[in-house]
């Protein structure tokens, strides 16, 4: 895997490779010393052109656990505000011998643009409303961990699909791995022709949740009311907000997932968010392992041999320069 730009580009095998590699790293994270030398000598730049706390922290942790050298760069401290072009900014960073660039940007397509004009390997940490591949991979990892499989599962994705890169990446990932995906939202929060991505579109919550093995909630941004997509958050919470009664429409052991940050009381009732069915914090923990796997694989690391102690944990990485 040369870059990780989006789940759309990945084959089913590549997705499974990331998940399997992540499983090896997950074991590392359960040890007392949570660090391996897999990316020793590799320099990773976290370039964040949009505010982000949890994704940036998760990547930074993943990098440190892999013994990579890291530099952080975020828009408030950058020269972007001084009128420098994106190309100049990034080429300057690369000129300092960076091997991998983790990029979060407000504009869709920026990771692909960087992959075209840089030599460094690119990991997309979220681009506009396009994709957020590591989020989808950690979600897939979590579902597989809890359910033992993905093929054949019924997954309901609830909420603001239109503005969600998380939804797009998850739709690609889930359908590639054989899950049945339903999108549940009012028409204003669904992008046009989304059915062609291989999903079912449902407007009625009860219908959408029927037999669901996984209920995946998306964050509803408060701006959506002002943008004319919704009459009020109140009406949204009443029609699409998830509570105990409604969760009963899904299968008895359905997982409740959320990419965070949550709007408690809007898309999810607080007791559910903290309840036994929610795996929201496991998603966060798994995020570090999945990002370790993504960084390791784009840096040229080999996936683990099945059922053996991972060999990737030895010596410095050849990609170091």
């Amino acid at each position: 895997m040369e870059h990780l730009l989006g789940i759309e580009d990945l084959t089913t095998e590549q997705i499974l490779t990331v998940l399997d590699t992540a499983r090896s790293f997950r074991e590392v994270l359960d040890r007392p010393i949570k660090k391996v030398p897999a990316l020793r000598g590799v320099t990773v730049c976290n370039a964040f052109f949009e505010p982000s706390t949890r994704t940036r922290v998760s990547f930074e942790l993943a990098e440190k656990r892999l013994s990579a050298d890291t530099v952080n760069f975020s828009v408030s401290q950058s020269s972007v505000t001084k009128g420098e072009t994106l190309r100049d900014t990034i080429q300057n960073i690369e000129a300092m011998q960076v091997d991998v660039v983790v990029v979060r940007h407000w504009a869709a397509g920026v990771p692909r643009y960087l992959a075209r004009c840089l030599r460094a390997r690119i990991v997309n940490a979220g681009d506009g409303q396009h994709e957020h591949p590591t989020q989808a991979l950690l979600d897939l990892f979590t579902i597989r961990e809890k359910k033992g499989r993905i093929a054949g599962l019924k997954v309901a994705i609830l909420g603001d699909v239109r503005h969600s890169r998380v939804a797009r990446s998850n739709i690609w990932g889930l359908t590639k791995l054989g899950a049945e995906v339903s999108l549940v939202a009012p028409r204003t929060l669904l992008p046009v022709e989304v059915e062609r991505m291989g999903v079912r579109v449902v407007h009625d919550l009860r219908d959408g949740l029927r037999d669901a093995d996984v209920v995946y909630l998306l964050r509803l941004q408060r701006e959506r009311q002002r943008g004319g997509f919704l009459p009020s958050l109140r009406e949204y919470a009443m029609t699409y907000g998830l509570d105990r009664t409604r969760l009963a429409w899904a299968t008895a052991d359905a997982l409740v997932m959320h990419p965070g940050p949550m709007n408690r009381g809007v898309e999810i009732q607080p007791d559910l968010a903290d309840g036994p069915r929610a795996v929201i914090l496991q998603q966060v923990s798994n995020g570090v392992a999945v990002r370790m796997a993504a960084l390791y694989l784009v840096s040229g690391g080999a996936p683990p041999e099945p059922a053996t102690e991972p060999t990737l944990l030895s010596a410095a990485h050849p990609a170091a320069r």
Binding site: T85, A107, A108, G109, H130, P191, V192
Partner: protein
């Protein structure tokens, strides 16, 4: 082969010129056969199957097509204000290379072309460049702000044939009504940039499956069709002469077809990129594919071709929109919309419409020369005896690879880079003067050689 400079020197010095052996296609005159053309001081003196007379300069056009000079009624030359992207000089040179003898340039410059003084500035610059006849389209409202009418009588006197706020729509329907009425008073064509801004706001590409997949804000087809429907009804109300620019949607074609059936005085154009590309190109996130109106779906593309076939769409115009590399080399959402086209129009139209879609060369000449001239009011849209020659000579089957670095245009935002196209412009004559020549055999007489030695 003769260099362009040498050919131009001979051409300028020759009293008589014989264009020999070309295949003349002139739909307006009903000609589609091999014809020689005899010029005296740039004016056409004879057209006949075989002309035996000697001339100071003989130009061999065996195997090439001769057409009335191609006209592009929708280009952006960026001068004044955007000279780093294009100038009147570089833009007219691009026109000549692409086979165009006349172009109409849009007023969305800085400042906008909305007064006699600015019209005269453009005309003066074009005259000194001398590569093409340039007809400024004046703004229909002052500063293109959509509020007050421009002084159209004076603009008409200065040589303006059409008005438009192109680049933006006239938002207010009542203002558009007055524009159509007042322009009609002075027999000016009104070119509508049909876009409903409240539907297109924030959009960077066509709204459809690909905008959904790419997570890019979409511009629905209705942003165009709603505006076309409004302007068609206003043309009906006022009797004004309406021309719809850059039609890109299936719905737009349908509406125009219906209006024409009702007898509304409307004409319409589409651009080569809508015939050759679709919204799927945006998968690359390459800003060279960002244009307004946006590249549409495959079904829209089909409908546009059908519209050209049945005459619903009258002509091709490039909507040549130069931007600097610096402006284009940005995040897709930050890069300005627009692509250049004058140097690829002939190739793209020949390749797509003629070679792939079965349009005759006669159809092509009608779309690129005859109809544009008729719509905007250029005279003549045909090869006419006695007039200063406006001729486009092209090789419809010649294959070439598009290399924007070799363009005369200052800009490089061409979406057809590395495309192989069949159909290339080979010689252009504008107002009797040679403005472009490539690989054509020039045979000067002894007398001319001595004279120019």
């Amino acid at each position: 082969m003769t260099s362009f400079a040498e050919a131009q020197r001979w051409w300028g010095a020759a009293e008589t010129i014989l264009l020999r052996g070309g295949h003349l296609i002139d739909p307006a005159a009903g000609i589609d056969e091999p014809q020689d053309i005899f010029l005296r001081r740039g004016h056409i003196e004879a057209i006949a199957g075989r002309i035996g007379r000697d001339a100071d300069l003989r130009v061999e056009l065996e195997g090439l097509c001769i057409a009335p000079g191609f006209g592009d009624i929708h280009v952006h030359l960026r001068e004044p204000g955007g000279e780093d992207a294009e100038t009147i000089e570089s833009g007219s040179a691009a026109a000549a290379r692409g086979g165009f003898t006349r172009i109409a340039c849009m007023p969305n410059t800085e400042p906008p072309i909305d007064t006699r003084g600015l019209v005269e500035f453009v005309l003066r610059r074009a005259q000194s460049a001398g590569a093409a006849e340039v007809f400024p389209v004046a703004a229909s409202t002052k500063r293109r702000a959509g509020d007050e009418l421009t002084e159209m009588q004076e603009l008409r006197e200065a040589g303006v044939l059409a008005v438009s706020d192109d680049g933006s729509p006239v938002r207010d329907a009542r203002v558009m009504r007055r524009v159509l009425e007042y322009a009609l008073t002075w027999d000016l064509l009104v070119i509508s940039h049909a876009e409903e801004p409240s539907l297109s706001a924030g959009g960077v590409m066509h709204e459809g499956y690909w905008s959904t997949v790419l997570g890019l804000e979409g511009i629905p087809a209705a942003a165009e069709s709603v505006a076309i429907a409004r302007d068609l009804r206003l043309a009906e109300l006022t009797g004004g002469r309406l021309h719809i620019a850059h039609v890109s949607t299936h719905e737009g074609v349908e509406l125009i077809r219906g209006a024409k059936e009702r007898g509304v005085a409307v004409t319409a154009e589409t651009a080569p990129h809508y015939l050759a590309l679709t919204d799927e190109s945006l998968r690359t996130f390459d800003s060279v594919y960002r244009v307004n109106p946006p590249l549409r779906s495959a079904a829209d593309r089909e409908a546009l071709i059908a519209g050209l076939r049945d005459g619903t769409l009258d002509c091709i115009a490039s909507d040549h929109a130069p931007h600097t590399d610096v402006a284009k080399d940005q995040e897709l959402e930050a890069a300005p919309p627009g692509m250049i086209g004058m140097e690829t129009t002939l190739g793209v139209v020949c390749e797509i419409l003629h070679h792939r879609e079965g349009f005759s060369l006669r159809d092509l000449v009608r779309l690129c020369a005859t109809r544009p001239a008729e719509i905007i009011g250029w005279d003549p849209g045909r090869v006419r005896m006695g007039g200063a020659a406006h001729l486009t000579v092209f090789a419809p089957d010649q294959e070439w690879e598009v290399d924007p670095s070799a363009f005369a245009s200052r800009a490089r935002n061409c979406p057809f880079r590395t495309w192989r196209l069949r159909g290339r412009s080979r010689l252009t004559v504008c107002g009797g003067r040679l403005t472009h020549q490539e690989d054509v055999e020039f045979c000067p007489s002894e007398r001319l050689l001595t004279q120019t030695a």
